[in-house]
């Protein structure tokens, strides 16, 4: 299927959807970091949930923002968390050692674009 780039302020998530729907994810900012892999359906449903209502419990705080878990990936064992900040969403990527390795901020317009791109993958 190819690559999908989900762009935001501070970085992008690139999803490589080639290998029989087991999809590899990269964080692209100042460098390209391999995050891990999961099925395309898992990635799409979890990312869409992060953009919609606050379905998951608040599990902690980063920089004063209340954080909800979004998804975790096999292989690279990176985890994505989301915070709501006014009308924006802030996405935090954590690596396998529980260190924040990247932050992506999404405006309303960018969220709408992500939704459109993700729904096309279903």
């Amino acid at each position: 299927m190819g690559n999908v780039a989900l762009n935001g302020t501070g970085g992008s998530i690139h999803i490589d959807t080639r290998a029989d729907r087991w999809s590899q994810c990269y964080l692209v900012a100042s460098e390209r970091i391999y995050l891990g892999a999961e099925t395309l359906s898992y990635l799409v449903s979890r990312l869409l949930s992060a953009l919609s209502s606050d379905t998951e419990e608040v599990i902690g705080e980063i920089s004063g923002h209340k954080i909800r878990w979004v998804l975790s990936l096999a292989e690279g064992h990176c985890t994505l968390y989301v915070a709501r900040c006014h009308s924006e969403r802030i996405l935090f990527w954590q690596n396998a050692e529980a260190k924040v390795i990247g932050t992506i901020t999404l405006s309303q317009v960018e969220m709408a674009q992500w939704r459109k791109q993700l729904e096309m993958l279903l």
């Binding site: 087991w22 099925t39 898992y42 998951e56 980063i62 878990w69 096999a74 292989e75 968390y81 529980a98």
Partner: protein
């Protein structure tokens, strides 16, 4: 005389080969049948190497959840998270289904040596082995779709 003995031996060899070929086919058929019949509980945990998505496929076909389906607390690294989930499973009696099919160098993994000594799967297996009395009742192991004993009890 020698010719008769050779002919007799060839017949025995031929029959032996046939026996093992047929037995192998039956065994393979049985394994395949069992792999399709694996059924796990909805809340069971499915552990093992992700193997390019094969662990996810197993959870989708047999049931159960992988670690990626559970919210990871911020403060835990991946190995701490995995071991905490195992401990909580032992406490609550949640079944853990460990797929050994794609574990490479199992003897090395159990001994904690070799190139796979520091993988997440290695740490998980060695943790379960070290605390076997606590985990015995909730653990089930699988290889190529059929249930097998714990690798240290094989």
């Amino acid at each position: 005389m020698a010719g008769t003995i050779v002919s007799h031996c060839q017949k025995i060899l031929h029959r032996t080969r046939n026996f093992f070929r047929l037995a192998g086919h039956r065994l393979l058929g049985k394994n395949r049948a069992i792999s399709y019949q694996l059924r796990f509980g909805t809340h069971d945990l499915v552990y093992g190497p992700s193997a390019g998505g094969r662990l996810r496929e197993l959870a989708q076909s047999a049931g159960g959840r992988t670690l990626n389906d559970l919210p990871k607390p911020l403060e835990l690294n991946w190995i701490e998270f995995s071991l905490r989930v195992l401990e909580e499973a032992a406490e609550s009696g949640t079944m853990v289904r460990f797929d050994l099919t794609y574990v490479e160098d199992l003897p090395g993994v159990l001994a904690g040596r070799g190139i796979f000594a520091s993988t997440v799967t290695t740490v998980e297996l060695r943790y379960i082995q070290a605390n076997w009395e606590r985990f015995r009742s909730i653990m089930r192991f699988y290889d190529k779709g059929r249930e097998v004993p714990a690798p240290w009890e094989m």
